[in-house]
Amino acid sequence: MTVQLTLGFAQLTDCAPLVVAKEKGVFATHGLDVSLKRFASWAAMRDALGTGAIDGAHMLSPMVVASAAGIGPFPGEFTTAFTLNLNGNAITVSTAVFEAMASMAPETITRRPLSAYALKMLIERRKEDGKEPLTFAHVYPHSMHALELRYWLAAAGIDPAKDLNLVVVPPALMVDALAAGQIDGYCVGEPWNNAAVVAGIGRTLITSGEIWSNGPEKVLAVRDGWANENHETHLKLIAALTESCAWLDDMDNRLTAAQIISTPEYVDAPFDEIVGSLTGRNRQTGGELRVDLPDFNVFHRYAANFPWRSHAKWILSQMIRWGEAPDDIDTRIVANQAFRPEVYCEAVKGLGIPCPSTDEKMEGVHSHAWLLKDATEPVAMGNDLFMDRRVFDPTNIDGYISGFSIRNQTSRLGASDTNQISSLAK
């Protein structure tokens, strides 16, 4: 019996797992008749998922964590059992900012990962000169983009709350806003970093994989209630997406994938503009224009699809750090609600895909490839370093957060979110 489903996706290259699963007939072989619906905003996709207009969504991983924590519309209603991809974002600044950084601290601008130290010097110089603060953009308040941008800035001593303006700009308008001088830099997914570099108006300084290697980017978000009532369908969906991600993992298939997703109904961008994101070839980072980053998008290897609760907890730790979640929130309960590794393992059991036997790991301890032995079969893992070499121990989140000197000391939550969080906790 065929089950009909509608999944939401955003116009970004990492929609590839969903699009490939549909176009290559993977959903169909799992008995799923899937329609894909494109959304122009994360808020609209969230509302569609929350009201049941769609059954699943290509969603920012922090959006699910925020919901599980009780923040925003649909508190406690979203969950995920599948990570769609790791890495995939980058920070780009205007050519003017890049040149100013290079002239102020030439020795730091050639080192990778590129520190924001030169940017800090530029910010201080501008303060002395009485110029207005720089403005940086990201794509959504609860996004890896926002957390990565803040992490990178703060690692160099820049306080995002005091030293510059942070704004949200729709991805498709980023390049225009940079060109018009409305913003000085941004953190966004592809093809929007590449577009600024190709247009000659910006330089990419660092990729998200260099800020935190192999951090979770998008997940397959579903409603908690839907997952309970449609367990078998959920398992089929995960199995299909796992196959699609495994296919995408083969670099030989990435050109085909780029062709499929470049079409008008999906990313609707020229093949040339999106192929680099998928193949990792001729990428830009560290101010360089042609760098090979084979892990720019990770779709399957390194147990990428397994929703690590340590990933959810890291996201939550950063939300607490920036005053976006209360510091007394029960991180274990939130992580358990947000990420469902046990459902993932149940779904892939029959596919011969190894599954980790633990739902958490230390993050920031592996500087190169390693073997995860605590699994149904050993899994080759990638590195998991943070750019500042901090270690995240998921059992000591308080200690981790208190180690950051730059953070929001007061809550940034409004009254309704504060009420929602406390009533969900009861």
């Binding site: 905003s41 808020a43 519309p73 303006n165 729709p170 005053g323 940034r412 939550l413 409004g414």
Partner: protein, 236 residues
């Protein structure tokens, strides 16, 4: 665009104090309400619909409309006019920018939350179906905002209906033309009467399960082709 600059003291009427007319004279005729009119920011890329919605709202609120403002410039506009309510197309990419105002920042001491949150999912479904999203200052009484949102939903729907009707009228007209021409061809080349031509088309439509317009278009294509071939044959 309506200017939101005229200050309104509490106890004034609910009539819009537009910048041209001033509010003093009108306030005596309006029913007394306890609070100043709400400030509404209307964001819509569709100028025609924006005008419709603004027209519906101005009697009860101070409306500021913007068509093409995004990102940083949109945030600056919001901080300048400090709206109590933001009404927008629910599919606008600008929604993510608005959502960032949910977190308190120095520039934004009063976070903005989605209006429908307290109202349950029926209300939300209603707004989504109409394509309307509304954000209000956290803590604002739903009762005060409800009539404005309802008006916006009604006007969004009205525009939708108008457009659907227009499209239907155009489609109907095109269908009628095709049917008339197909009928004419059948009469001309098959010696049918008008009634015969029409009833044979209707029979085909029923048998094939296709709209009459599609049948007429097929006839036009096929007979057109045959006539072309015949013309060529005659000439040789």
């Amino acid at each position: 665009m309506t200017s939101p600059q005229t200050p309104v003291s509490s106890g004034s009427s609910s009539i819009l104090p537009s910048d041209h007319q001033g509010s003093e004279k009108e306030s005596s005729s309006g029913a007394a309400v306890s609070a100043a009119p709400l400030r509404v920011l209307l964001i819509d890329e569709d100028p025609e619909r924006a005008r419709q919605v603004e027209e519906g709202l101005v009697t009860n609120a101070i409306v500021h409309t913007t068509i093409h403002t995004h990102g940083r410039v949109l945030l600056e506009l919001i901080s300048k006019i400090s709206p109590d309510v933001i009404i927008m197309d629910c599919n606008s990419p600008d929604r993510d920018t608005i959502e960032s105002l949910r977190l308190v920042a120095q520039s934004n001491p009063k976070p903005i939350v989605m209006f429908v949150e307290e109202e349950g999912s029926d209300r939300m479904q209603d707004a989504i179906d109409a394509g309307v999203s509304a954000y209000v200052i956290d803590g604002l009484k739903p009762k005060r905002v409800q009539p404005l949102i309802d008006t916006a939903i009604a006007r969004f729907r009205h525009m939708d209906n108008l457009r659907n009707e227009l499209k239907k009228t155009k489609d109907d007209l095109a269908a009628r033309k095709a049917i008339e021409r197909a009928k004419g061809l059948l009469m001309q080349h098959h010696g049918m009467t008008e009634d015969q031509a029409f009833s044979s088309m209707r029979t085909m439509s029923q048998q094939q399960g296709k709209p009459l317009k599609d049948v007429a278009e097929s006839i036009l294509t096929i007979l057109g082709m045959l006539m072309n071939n015949k013309d060529k044959g005659d000439m040789s």
